[in-house]
Symmetry: C3
Subunit: 162 residues, 3 copies
């Protein structure tokens, strides 16, 4: 972890760029690059809003180290048969809430749309990202990304990371 020495405007800009890279890597189906957005000692979890708000565990996914992220990608590539589709992530409202001890806390809103093999697009999911972000030699990375989907009834499966 490196020291943060940016003003708030620059910090916000870099957090937005990290979000843009995240969305693009997944939408481009460059899954292998996805773990590289996280530091080694990281947490990635999908926690539907109802459970999250009620303080219940009930995660859809819970990875608490980097190896689990890489395993997920391998499993998606090698083992799973799943519905093929094109994702499109719309990420807005990126806000830096707090910077303490070189950890940036940020939030953003996401909307994911999917197009299926028959070329039909549709709404898939909305929600929020709650992030803890740190500076590394390679720029900003996620220490924690908590994905909070708004809806617990999804059209289809959650195979690819949200």
């Amino acid at each position: 972890m490196e020291e943060l020495c940016m003003d708030i405007d620059q910090l916000e800009r870099e957090v937005i760029r990290l979000n843009n890279r995240y969305a693009r890597i997944l939408d481009d189906d460059r899954l292998e690059e996805w773990p590289g957005l996280f530091v080694d000692d990281c947490r990635y979890a999908i926690h539907p809003r109802d459970n999250y708000a009620a303080g219940l565990e009930g995660y859809w996914l819970y990875f608490d180290n980097h190896a689990m992220l890489r395993d997920r990608v391998k499993s998606l590539r090698e083992a799973n048969l799943y519905n093929i589709h094109q994702d499109r992530r719309i990420v807005t409202g990126v806000m830096v809430d707090d910077v303490q001890d070189d950890v940036i806390r940020a939030r953003s809103a996401f909307l994911i749309l999917q197009s299926d093999v028959e070329g039909r697009g549709r709404f898939f999911c909305t929600g929020e990202y709650l992030d803890q972000i740190v500076m590394t030699e390679d720029g900003l990375k996620f220490k924690e990304r908590l994905v909070i989907p708004d809806s617990f009834n999804m059209h289809g499966l959650v195979a690819i990371p949200l």
Copy 2:
């Protein structure tokens, strides 16, 4: 009202942040903080595009002072029974059109999605925000926010502010 002394880049950044705060307060169901985004002598109206474009009144909502905003919040909290749902606001395309006499005129595009109690998400509404924004001791606030929904047939009710 304070004097504006920012360059256009800083101004645009602050208008984007105001928009982000607005979206988040409503999506977080922190309705009580919503009036605080407006100055005392303010106007908030929802004016469907067809009526707006034709020069017809036909507002869905028309509040022209701060007390009316606060009453609305109180009424939503205490009196009304309405469909419970989780909103998700996607606000993009924020543009500062003009700055005159310390009033910033800005526009943006919005998309609102909703998830109902059965956890199903769906498209709710698109439209534009037409804003007049001023500087106060507590940062930028809305002097006027005109909400122009694109569609006049909504899936459901407009209870919570758009």
Copy 3:
């Protein structure tokens, strides 16, 4: 074509503004201003993702000079009867990928929603913009805009430029 003399932050900001102007001109139905976003020697094409990814031509539209853009607008205004609707463009994830020989390569994600004459809004299309942008006396303009829709089954016609 002018020389680019901006730092990367300023460049990114100006590319975002160009995208915002593009979206707004089309959503405002100011079609006549759309060709003005391109330089004379330009290319605008709509190339569905499946064809694009497979290296097949199969364009929906292919204009390779400015006159073709202006003809399109004229044709839409004077000759065509098409379904009347209100578009709403949500453009996010604008990233500057590369700057070489005064040509900026940028990408962004788009979502287009439409409201029909009966006032019903719906999802229309998602995809990506792949751009080559240059500096002119009148600011940044598109040298090339390649529109890559994610889905090849559209609800309705593509009349107005995406």
